[in-house]
């Protein structure tokens, strides 16, 4: 079968701005419109090609040969534009350069490596939950819990010093905004970019990291020649960029889901071993990482259409995770569902290398909560936090009854 650009005449188009505040507040109507328009839609405002169905998103995620990451996984095309910081050796790299850093980090953050953290994180979660519950029956789940726990346990696991940890969330927030267009969200972060980037770069040095931890493990891999000493600080940087905001928003997603689905909370109370599954169901349902871009390495045929060489595609992970072609009752947060195969962590060679860290953090928090909290409900309207890539909560006021 031959494909010509002429066939794109029938390509659906949409002038929606996926990064407008209106869409960021509630992306679901836009996601549905794009998904139902067809397997591929031309977004005229940015001249990019959108995939919103599970089949195309999944296929594009695993197809690193046709859809590369090294030209940037945001709107900016590194073939023509200067990146705002030195590109990530993981997220913004293709094979073969991607191989060695990925191999090292896969091992450092692998399920076997995390075993030594399980008991400590479980105890840390129980202590934090006790603290929060002691302060009263109403609290803000984001301010008091979901933005606190990852910042307690993850920087320690990396081996980061105490000082300056408050920089991690703003740095990550800006990095994820920077995948979108240069809109007001990016502008708002720009004044602090130089300062935050310098702080992060400084923290990635071997001397700045504790002798035991993920950071030290990465430097040890460079001692063994598995990566070069020049790569090591950039691999550490990936942990600091992608390891905090994402877990905060993942935890917020699952707590918001439970606060609005009391019957599912009862299910978890009866069967606490559902905690792992519940977190992944929340990642599917909410998709804390909503979007990523790829760049076509040649003219790539998608169904009846063609993605032209060098053009950007925008993969709507959140839309794929609610595609009724793939999921039964996709809009339901449902612990009786098997969420396996969702693309909330991506898929293929770039799939979230920290996914086991995120699962362990959430399992610790949910298990501790399920033990102490009989019921959980919203105590007021939850407030969204807007980010060009992340679906996040600024505030989730909750009221609990303890067991």
């Amino acid at each position: 079968m031959t494909a010509t650009l002429g066939t794109n005449a029938a390509l659906p188009t949409d002038d929606v701005d996926p990064f407008s505040h209106e869409v960021l507040e509630d992306p679901l109507p836009m996601q549905e419109a794009l998904r139902e328009a067809g397997p591929m839609v031309h977004l005229t405002r940015y001249d990019v090609y959108a995939f919103a169905r599970y089949e195309q998103v999944h296929a594009a995620l695993v197809d690193w040969q046709d859809f590369q990451s090294a030209a940037g996984v945001g709107l900016s095309n590194f073939r023509h534009e200067e990146p705002w910081r030195p590109p990530s050796l993981l997220l913004e790299a293709d094979p073969p350069r991607h191989d060695a850093p990925r191999r090292v980090l896969t091992k450092v953050l692998g399920p076997r490596a995390l075993r030594r953290l399980r008991d400590r994180w479980t105890a840390d979660a129980e202590a934090l939950v006790d603290e929060v519950l002691a302060s009263g029956a109403e609290f803000d789940a984001v301010r008091d819990l979901t933005s606190v726990f990852p910042l307690r346990v993850f920087p320690d696991a990396v081996g980061l010093g105490r000082e300056g940890r408050e920089n991690l969330l703003p740095y990550g927030d800006h990095a994820f905004n920077a995948f979108g267009p240069a809109n007001d969200l990016v502008e708002r972060g720009t004044p602090r970019v130089a300062e935050l980037s310098a702080w992060v770069a400084d923290r990635c040095r071997r001397e700045a990291l504790a002798p035991v931890g993920f950071g030290a493990d990465i430097w040890a891999a460079s001692d063994r020649g598995e990566i070069t000493p020049e790569m090591a600080p950039l691999v550490v940087r990936s942990l600091l960029t992608a390891g905090v905001d994402t877990t905060v928003h993942g935890l917020s997603a699952v707590l918001h889901a439970f606060a609005t689905h009391p019957e599912e909370w009862q299910r978890l109370r009866v069967q606490p071993s559902l905690a792992r599954l519940a977190f992944d169901e929340a990642v599917r349902w909410e998709s804390p990482v909503q979007t990523f871009f790829r760049t076509a390495t040649s003219d790539v045929r998608v169904g009846d259409h063609v993605v032209p060489d060098g053009s950007k595609i925008l993969m709507f992970l959140g839309a794929a995770n609610r595609d009724p072609r793939r999921w039964t009752r996709p809009d339901a947060f449902d612990l009786t569902r098997d969420p396996s195969g969702h693309v909330g962590f991506g898929m293929g060679i770039h799939q979230c290398v920290g996914q086991h860290v995120a699962r362990l953090e959430s399992e610790a928090v949910l298990t501790a909560l399920a033990r102490r909290v009989r019921s959980l409900e919203l105590a007021g309207p939850a407030v969204r936090h807007h980010n060009n890539t992340l679906r996040a909560w600024e505030s989730i006021p909750v009221r609990v009854r303890t067991a």
């Binding site: 089949e55 191999r103 399920p111 195969g341």
Partner: protein, 342 residues
């Protein structure tokens, strides 16, 4: 190329634990446990190149230079072969197979019996011999040991690294892939023993240099010679893979086995062709999974008793030998019974 399949993707199934409706799940990705032989070519005296594709022609699991796959042959034994094709071709694996002297084992089967169109069991890929980043490489290959080095060389060359290959063998006619190596010109030294005598390793290796990485694959005497020649080099400079003919691991089962779920108190029978993940799911024990290819690690399950038959791409040899955990989306059992902490 993006998929052009038009059939519907499989839907998620409700959890059987709560709804009590046992039903097998449909794999969400191409089942690559059995691959089809798509080409079989003589590439040197006694050496075949075998090409393998998925039965549906779909995407195979990703691999990196230095990776091998396990071929599970009809005698139930498993042999490891290095992948020596092009990773940008996501639909095809290529391995080189030397006919072993003695000619009774797996290589004889591959040479004499296995035909284009046949299906063959495949595990992996797995990489114990990864190419680390460097600006200078020295590669030393002995005989069929050239196979893992071929994709490494292609990669080093594509990255603009400075590299040399010393390739030894008995006779020129027995040395595979000389035609593919010709394009690299004088970076490649082809040294058949009947023309040149023993390899001049000292001359090839030269003085120790901290910025050079050495990769060697071949028979044990060659590896020993290279290790001796590198005695003065910095640690980690040399990486080797022994080409061992006819690795005889534990026989892969072609029959069903039992899995006892210790926490649930249920025992399930896993028939051939069904994954442990699906068998366990069918009795209502939900285990979270993601890639279903033994790549991501999500479905890790602790093994309390029994011997797993590992088919994943994650565990290294030491972790496999420990036998205390497995990825149940692809791995199976070599013992009659496994006890899992589920």
């Amino acid at each position: 190329m993006l998929t052009t399949r038009t059939d519907e993707m499989p839907r998620d199934e409700p959890a059987r634990a709560l709804r009590g409706v046992p039903a097998p799940r449909t794999p969400a990705t191409t089942d690559v446990a059995r691959l089809r032989v798509s080409a079989k070519t003589v590439v040197a005296d006694g050496v075949l190149a075998l090409e393998l594709i998925a039965p549906d022609g779909g995407r195979l699991r990703d691999w990196t230079p230095g990776s091998h796959i396990d071929l599970v042959l009809p005698d139930g034994l498993t042999r490891q072969y290095s992948l020596c094709g092009d990773r940008w071709d996501c639909a095809t694996y290529r391995v080189g197979v030397l006919r072993e002297p003695g000619g009774r084992g797996g290589s004889a089967y591959v040479h004499d019996e296995l035909a284009v169109g046949d299906l063959v069991g495949v595990g992996g890929p797995r990489n114990n011999f990864p190419l680390v980043p460097a600006e200078h490489y020295l590669f030393v290959a002995g005989g069929i040991g050239i196979t893992p080095l071929l994709p490494m060389i292609a990669q080093a060359d594509a990255l603009g690294a400075d590299w040399r290959l010393l390739y030894g063998g008995r006779r020129r006619g027995s040395m595979a892939f000389l035609d593919e190596l010709a394009r690299y010109g004088d970076r490649v030294l082809v040294r058949p023993e009947d023309e040149f005598g023993l390899l001049d390793l000292a001359g090839f290796l030269g003085e120790p240099r901290p910025d050079v990485r050495l990769y060697c694959c071949g028979p044990a005497p060659l590896l020993a010679a290279v290790e001796g020649g590198c005695a003065g080099w910095p640690p980690h400079a040399l990486r080797t893979e022994r080409f061992v003919a006819e690795v005889r691991g534990a026989p892969a089962r072609s029959t069903s086995f039992e899995v006892e779920l210790a926490r649930t108190g249920v025992t399930v029978t896993v028939p051939p062709g069904t994954s442990v993940l699906d068998a366990v799911g069918a009795v209502g024990v939900e285990v979270l999974s993601s890639c279903r290819q033994g790549i991501c690690g999500t479905c890790e399950s602790a093994v309390l008793a029994g011997r797993p038959d590992h088919r994943d791409s994650l565990l290294d040899d030491e972790e496999r030998a420990a036998g205390d955990s497995m990825y149940i989306c692809v791995s199976r059992a070599s013992s009659d019974r496994l006890v899992l902490d589920l």
